[in-house]
Amino acid sequence: MITKKICMVGSFSVGKTSLVSRYVYSIFSDAYLSSIGVKISKKDVASSKGQVKLMVWDLEGRDDYGEINTTYLRGSNGLIIVVDGTREETLSAALGMHQKALNLVGEIPFLLLINKQDLADEWEITPKMLKILNEKNYNPIFTSAKNGLNVEKAFKMITDKMVTPS
């Protein structure tokens, strides 16, 4: 069985835990998040290279300014970077975290999720920002942990990226 470790990174309250806990299997309670700052779940994903076991590390953001817990990132095979579409500032924080992660673990596959797509009324991410993101090859995906939009797809995409090195 192929096993990969991925980390969920992003600012506080962007929906990392929600994205994981509704779609992924775990035996640990969310209490671990506040106590040791990480909760690990697992998910079997069918990839282009057969079944892959994802060990999903949901990291509790320490604060809102792009700080991340580097210890838990170690050995990660992929990153899911989560942004809250209703809070513009979480985007720049996310890009900062991505940069830090790159310095630590090198060029590993990543996926940028812009979450809370269901909250159209409060949306703050402009088409202009999206254009810049696309130019920089971030190719973000809109998700919603609330209605499940693209959640499964996101896990499959990051898995495919990890098993087929570009």
């Binding site: 069985m1 192929i2 096993t3 990969k4 470790k5 299997y25 775990s26 035996i27 640990f28 671990y32 040791i36 700052g37 990480v38 690990i40 779940s41 697992k42 892959v52 076991k53 060990m55 590390w57 210890t71 838990y72 170690r74 050995g75 990660s76 095979n77 990890m162 098993v163």
Partner: protein, 604 residues
């Protein structure tokens, strides 16, 4: 010797003996030339041969080409080689062992160690099982204690035995990739209820990272070596590539970490390739091959049973205790049993215990009130299992108003025929339903109402099938009116059929009622109009009633008939003056049911 001819070959420059008559002796130089002409090639060959014979290296090289085949050929023929070599080999081995024992052990250990350890583990395991079985059936003092503990804590007896006899047991072994925390391989002892190994090992890695972060600033030296919770310990042995985490119940021996380390090092050695590959593709499959090293870590030790004291001494206290428990318990139990029997007797309907005293020796003096319909107290106690000589009972009669007894009493009083259902409510109301003759219904009502304890009787659901017919007939007869001509006491001819019908109905009713144990009586009221004087009208109305009565008798009726002349009391007037009204010249029929002596047949 021909083989030696090369050696006999004359040295360079030596003269040959002349052969016969030689033409002229050759000079040394000429001779030399001739020789090289004749033998030039052979000389080179001979030189090469000689060189080969002298050169040891060449020998060895050549021999090496064939030595294996030679040994093989010889071994196939006989055992000489083995015999020749044996002493040498033995000597080498002994020397080696004397000089450097560690090296030899190091080489042998990976082969033998696991095998030995596994066989020890197996032995212990099977020993433990039989030990536990023996205990399970024995009554040793400790066995009893453990049994009590098992009952108290709700755990299985073998669990308790394990807790007390277990020194330690390795329940789970994880081989975990240090960097990612991904489990590479995993083994667990039988009967372990384990959580998801993937998640546990990842979390274990996270916890270690966390501890390292918090307390040691990330230094390798301060890596977590063990975690403890209750009697569970997680022991960790690490290398940069992978670490082994063992979940151990109890206290493992001091050298246990060393054992894990041995396994871990063997794994690292064996799997150098696999680790590289894993970093590339994340496939943990290939690590299955080192499962045996993990299994080696699944060790367990139990406290050995000491069998010092002789059998009967070890079991004497338990046996004594058991005896006392049984004896005392037996007495107590019997007392308790008798007590509950007496209580049970008191609960029987229609029985009231007025006194109950157990004597010291366990027999009882009782006195009680008893309804005639209640159980016989003596029989009851004997049947419940109380010996006849264990009690004396005085019984006094009384009438119980207990629901059950009243029900039995009223049942006996009314003896409901088949087709009648009875129920007796908590409010002591008797309800009867079903089909029954009317006579029985009436009689039963009376009887039931006079039975002690019955408050009311409801017979509304009791139907007499005949009674319905009876009612219909009566309704047809009742109120029949026959009209008379002016000043005549013979009915109008038109009303003859009506009169005949009424008479026939009365005859039928009479028969039906007789069948039901009832009788009927008929009353005929005669009327006249208001014309004429009062006396005359009375007589006329009386005569009319009598005429009809006579007609009834004439048609075979034997019912008692009463006739009344009502005169013009009900006649019509107009403006206060009497009129000649045809509607007032008539008789009216009435029937009544009456109970006859014959109905007594329902209730002799």
């Amino acid at each position: 010797m021909s083989e030696n001819k090369f050696n006999d070959f004359p040295e360079e420059g030596a003269a040959l003996p002349p052969e016969g008559e030689a033409p002229a002796p050759l000079s040394g130089e000429e001779w030399e030339r001739l020789r090289s002409l004749l033998l030039g090639r052979e000389i080179a060959a001979i030189r090469a041969l000689r060189e080969r014979l002298d050169n040891h290296d060449l020998h060895a090289r050549e021999l090496s080409e064939v030595v294996a085949e030679a040994i093989l050929l010889r071994t196939q023929k006989d055992q000489t080689i083995e015999k020749v070599l044996q002493p040498t080999v033995e000597e080498i081995f002994q020397n080696n062992l004397r000089r450097n024992p560690h090296q030899v052990v190091n080489h042998l250990f990976p082969l033998m160690g696991p095998a030995i350890r596994r066989s020890i583990t197996e032995t212990f395991r099977s020993m433990m099982q039989s030990f536990s079985r023996t205990l399970e059936m024995s009554f040793s003092w400790r066995g009893l204690q453990w049994r009590l503990e098992a009952m108290r804590t709700g755990r299985s007896f073998s669990d308790i035995v394990m807790i007390h006899t277990l020194l330690y047991r390795v329940e789970q072994v994880f081989l975990i990739h240090t960097e990612t925390g991904i489990v590479l391989d995993y083994a667990e002892n039988e009967g372990i209820k384990s959580q998801d190994a993937d998640l546990v090992s990842a979390m274990l890695t996270a916890v270690q990272d966390f501890v390292k972060d918090c307390f040691a600033g990330g230094g390798q030296a301060a890596a977590l070596e063990s975690l403890q919770m209750g009697d569970l310990t997680i022991l960790v042995e690490r290398t940069p590539q992978a670490y082994i985490a063992c979940v151990v119940r109890g206290t493992p021996p001091a050298d246990f970490a060393g054992q894990i380390n041995t396994s871990l090092e063997l794994i690292i050695l064996e799997c150098a390739e696999e680790f590289k590959q894993f970093a590339a593709d994340g496939d943990s499959g290939p690590f299955k091959k080192i499962r045996r090293h993990l299994l080696d870590c699944l060790d367990a030790r139990y406290i050995e049973e000491k069998r010092k004291a002789p059998f009967f001494i070890r079991y004497l206290p338990a046996a004594l205790l058991l005896f006392l428990v049984i004896a005392f318990g037996g007495l107590k139990y019997q007392q308790y049993k008798y007590e509950s029997m007496v209580e049970e007797l008191g609960r029987q309907p229609g029985v009231v215990i007025t006194a109950a005293e157990p004597s010291l020796l366990g027999s009882w003096r009782l006195s009680c009130l008893r309804d005639d319909l209640a159980v016989d107290p003596s029989n009851f106690l004997v049947e419940a299992g109380m010996a006849q000589n264990r009690f004396h009972i005085d019984v006094y009669s009384y009438i119980s108003l207990d629901g059950d007894i009243v029900k039995r009493r009223v049942e006996e009083a009314i003896k409901p025929p088949p087709g009648v259902r009875m129920s007796f409510s908590d409010e002591h109301v008797l309800r009867l339903s079903g089909d029954a003759p009317l006579g029985w219904i009436i009689a039963t009502r009376e009887k039931a109402l006079t039975t002690p304890g019955v408050k009311d009787v409801d017979t509304s659901l009791l139907k007499d099938p005949l009674a319905q017919e009876l009612n219909q007939l009566m309704a047809r007869i009742d109120g029949t009116i026959i009209y008379f001509p002016l000043n005549k006491d013979l009915p109008e001819t038109e009303s003859a059929p009506k009169l005949i019908e009424a008479v026939d109905n009365i005859v039928a009713l009479e028969k039906l009622a007789a069948n039901m144990g009832m009788g009927i009586t008929v009353t005929i009221y005669g009327h006249a109009d208001a014309i004429g004087n009062e006396k005359y009208n009375y007589d006329l109305s009386q005569a009319r009633a009598k005429t009809v009565a006579a007609m009834l008798y004439a048609r075979g009726s034997s019912v008692p008939i009463s006739t009344y002349g009502m005169g013009a009391d009900f006649a019509a007037y107009e403006d206060g003056k009497p009129i000649a009204d045809p509607g007032s010249r008539k008789i009216i029929l009435k029937v009544h049911l009456a109970r006859l002596a014959a109905m007594e047949q329902w209730n002799p």
